[in-house]
């Protein structure tokens, strides 16, 4: 289906396009409008996002799928306020993040959003406990309280015995658990997880995804997670497919189950 056809669909039947039950009032945590991103490298320019529109609902678990190079990471970075798009806007709870100054942006990254990366990005020189404490210190939580909270949350992700270990002494799965604990430390509204399981074996990956889903239900946090693995789709509320820097499809999981099982059969 071409993109222009897609847009027409969206106009005539928004429910199909967004995969939303529009009879219910829904709140959007993230709204992307016409987001384009062009990377310039010397004389060449690469269009990583070619106009992305997406509404992400409060409290949902949305998975983003798409081949490598389809713009998932770029989309995450734009939504997370980590890079500025060439065009278009991202609204987080109706606030246009392009309007924020440096201090406000730091607050947003610290308090509103938790990031989980493919390569964990745990600060190497720090223990698990220090890694999880740090964002709370940035937020202004008193050190003692921050430490107590960090211990609680590390216990929650199953690392109660590993508090004082540094990344070197932790497996990939354990490091990603530290990253999850750190992302949740300031009780953010949104978790952005960019292929969090790509560097993990299948089983560990499933455990990580299950943990994120639990935290999503427990805390009502909106989780946006990109993945290659179709298994991971089972627990998402909605799935967004990206291709060539566009949203190819955005649908509720129930509505795509058949497609998924077919894809599984085909061995994708």
């Amino acid at each position: 289906m071409s993109h222009s056809a897609q847009t027409t669909d969206a106009a005539t039947n928004p429910a199909d396009y967004w995969g939303a039950d529009l009879s219910q009032q829904v709140d959007c945590t993230v709204m992307a409008r016409g987001v384009k991103m062009v990377y310039r490298m010397g004389s060449e320019s690469i269009q990583a996002l070619a106009g992305v529109d997406a509404d992400i609902f409060t409290g949902e678990y949305i998975s983003i799928m798409g081949p490598s190079g389809s713009g998932k990471t770029t989309f995450f970075n734009v939504v997370g306020g980590l890079i500025k798009p060439s065009e278009g806007s991202v609204y987080i709870d109706e606030i246009d993040i392009a309007q924020l100054d440096a201090g406000e942006l730091a607050w947003l990254r610290c308090r509103k959003i938790g990031y989980i990366f493919q390569s964990y990005n745990i600060v190497k020189a720090m223990t698990a406990l220090e890694n999880v404490t740090l964002p709370m210190l940035f937020a202004g939580v008193p050190p003692d309280e921050a430490q107590d909270r960090a211990v609680d949350i590390l216990k929650r992700v199953g690392l109660g015995e590993r508090l004082l270990h540094t990344p070197k002494e932790l497996s990939g799965g354990q490091q990603q658990r530290v990253a999850i604990a750190r992302a949740f430390a300031n009780q953010p509204a949104i978790i952005l997880a960019d292929e969090p399981t790509a560097n993990l074996d299948l089983r560990t990956g499933e455990e990580i995804i299950a943990l994120m889903k639990e935290m999503n239900t427990e805390r009502g946090v909106t989780v946006i997670c990109s993945t290659h693995d179709h298994k991971m789709l089972d627990i998402s509320d909605r799935i967004m497919w990206m291709q060539d820097g566009r949203v190819k499809k955005l649908a509720r999981r129930e509505d795509v189950e058949i497609t998924i099982s077919k894809m599984k059969e085909e061995g994708h």
């Binding site: 409060t58 709870d93 406000e104 940035f138």
Partner: protein, 195 residues
């Protein structure tokens, strides 16, 4: 409406956090810290020795002396600057990460500067003691008990001050530019910097 309206707030620089970040960074990289400390100390010690040691009034000797000071300063400065540069560039990824966690650009920049200044200062203090000792020992060989006269130590406080300043500037300037670049870099770019 389940959604609570939130008000966007602003993070401010927290000096106590800058201090603890700088100190823990020095502690965590103890090996490199000690090495830089010794380099700075050696540089300051040598400088102070050259400044205080007795020289003959022969202009040729004085010229030679000046050349030695300049050369040794250049060599040790290059060493320290290089270490500081590496110490910061190796941290790009970490800097990008902490910016994602809410670190302000100013936090990144100032904590690196504080860290470097502390390192420079500690090295300078160590170097000043070593330099004075060196001056007494070597000076006593050439002028005997003359090292204990006031004339030998004329202007010593200025010389100590100069050595301390050199130590402080070496590390701080060496770290300033890469720290500034890393602080200004968008977090994702910084995170790609180094594996």
């Amino acid at each position: 409406m389940t959604q609570e309206m939130w008000e966007i707030k602003r993070l401010h620089l927290k000096p106590e956090l800058v201090w603890s970040m700088a100190m823990s960074s020095l502690r965590l990289r103890m090996g490199r810290t000690l090495l830089t400390l010794l380099t700075v100390a050696a540089c300051c010690a040598f400088l102070l020795f050259l400044l205080t040691a007795p020289i003959s009034d022969d202009p040729a000797d004085r010229q030679m002396w000046g050349l030695m000071i300049t050369l040794s300063l250049i060599v040790s400065a290059a060493g320290v600057l290089n270490t500081m540069l590496m110490s910061v560039t190796q941290r790009y990824r970490e800097i990008g990460t902490i910016k994602c966690l809410g670190a302000l650009d100013s936090f990144v920049l100032i904590s690196v500067l504080v860290e470097s200044a502390m390192l420079g200062l500690a090295g300078a203090i160590l170097g000043i003691f070593a330099g004075l000792l060196l001056s007494v020992v070597i000076g006593s060989i050439s002028v005997g008990l003359g090292v204990f006269t006031a004339a030998y130590w004329s202007g010593v406080f200025w010389k100590i001050g100069a050595a301390a300043l050199v130590g402080l500037c070496l590390t701080t300037f060496g770290a300033a530019l890469p720290a500034y670049i890393a602080a200004k870099m968008p977090p994702v770019e910084a995170m790609r910097g180094e594996k």
